[in-house]
């Protein structure tokens, strides 16, 4: 290790300035956020109803849960060859990897949250004879929301980890691409560190935004410290 080769804050700051001037800062950040947004939203839209359904049908869960448990410890990065095989090299592959990375934890968390619903609340909903749509919207979803928000935060964190890795192989824009590209194109370690700093800062901002959801009036009951 030669510490002198690691650029200091001033050099990195200048590198970020350079990226901004060349128009790459906004372009790469937007590209990465774009991939995360689509992969993550697709995961949310599919995982929540899927997890709810599994949580409510014990038979479905018995069939699917072992598969989920086996898939879960496999790093999303192990899917890279399959992603490329199915979707080619490009955005769709990267989005697919992000989708996978957030889909599994979200599904499992939703399923477990359904199990944790107080049976008294389900009984009350049954007693009042509310139609299925209202039972889902007014009882099931709000009952799991506090736990779901925690899972959404964790899943977004994982999605952000994965976007960087996915961009290193599958695409030619984004912060992950910036890091490999800077090294390949002439050992620009100032740009490498600049990319890392940007990833870290954006990750923190995303997490802070998710945390705000935990302050909603209708979910605060679900967190211990009241």
């Amino acid at each position: 290790m030669r510490p002198s080769l690691i650029p200091g804050p001033i050099v990195v700051g200048r590198a970020i300035g350079e990226l901004a001037v060349r128009g790459l800062l906004v372009k790469y950040v937007v590209a990465s956020l774009f991939r995360v947004t689509w992969g993550y939203l697709a995961a949310l839209v599919i995982a929540i109803p899927f997890g709810l359904t599994l949580g409510m049908m014990s038979l479905g869960e018995m069939a699917i849960n072992p598969i989920l448990q086996v898939l879960r410890p496999i790093s999303p990065l192990a899917w890279i060859p399959i992603a490329i095989l199915w979707f080619g090299v490009g955005d769709v592959s990267a989005i697919f990897l992000i989708f996978l990375a957030s889909f599994l934890p979200l599904t499992v968390a939703t399923m477990n949250a359904v199990h944790n619903i107080d049976p008294v609340h389900l009984a009350a909903a049954r007693n009042f004879g509310v139609p299925l749509r209202a039972r889902v919207a007014d009882v099931l979803l709000p009952a799991i929301l506090p736990q779901l928000i925690v899972a959404m935060r964790i899943a977004l964190g994982v999605a952000w980890l994965v976007v960087v890795a996915a961009e290193m192989i599958a695409v030619n824009s984004g912060l992950g691409f910036l890091i490999v590209d800077a090294r390949n194109a002439g050992d620009r370690y100032d740009l490498v560190i600049a990319g890392m700093v940007l990833i870290g800062v954006i990750g923190v901002v995303l997490d802070l935004l998710m945390r705000r959801l935990e302050r909603l009036d209708s979910v605060r009951w679900g967190y211990a410290t009241e």
């Binding site: 107080d118 008294v120 609340h121 009984a123 009350a124 049954r126 007693n127 009042f128 004879g129 509310v130 139609p131 209202a134 007014d138 009882v139 709000p142 009952a143 929301l145 009036d217 209708s218 979910v219 605060r220 009951w221 679900g222 009241e226």
Partner: protein, 244 residues
Amino acid sequence: MKVQFTDVSMRFGAMEVLQHVTIGVEEGEFLCIVGPSGCGKSTLLNIAGGFLAPAAGSVTIDGEPVTAPDRRRIFVFQERGVFPWLTVEGNIGFGLFDMPEEARRQRVAQYIQLVGLDGFEKAYPRELSGGMKQRVEVARALAVNPDVLFLDEPFGALDSITRLQMRSELLRIWRAERKTVLFVTHDIDESVQLADRVVVMSARPGRIRRVVDIDIAHPRDLSSKRYIELRDLIFGEIGLAHQV
């Protein structure tokens, strides 16, 4: 008979919980069920509510067999039955999903007033005391205008002062609305204060040991001779000497 239990028996696996329970409840009657812990009181109420099917025998309401929960008869749990994610208003209006918006608002306001929660419309349950949460749950039940109310130790988690207040409020509401009430408690005083009749059950497997008529007019004087007589009768029936 409004609610008729006919030869109801229940078992969980090999354990017999209820044996040959037969009793009728009249329209508008306030019936209390007391008995030792684990004797099957909650089970009996859950069968009447349609949440459990009896192993043998039947329950009919207005002559129709009970097969599933029904919004014409509402089960009130201990205060934890309120939905913590809904405001007081949201909770009380929960069962009124098929009402037009304006009528629904009026109905909610009416029951908020009935249970004395004016000013707390927008509050969440976590901001309320135990007694207030219990009021919300009672109001939520009454708002759908059921003809039978099942209450399973509704005041069990409250302190003794709040409990006394809640009892007289429940009586006031019951007199105003004339519901048929089945009320499970293991507080014998509570049963003598509230009920028209008290069903005393045996230890598990629960059978009806005795049905006691509480022939005291409301408001009841808790130091009257008759009150103490009836209370001691029930204590004796359960097999407790009334001493500490």
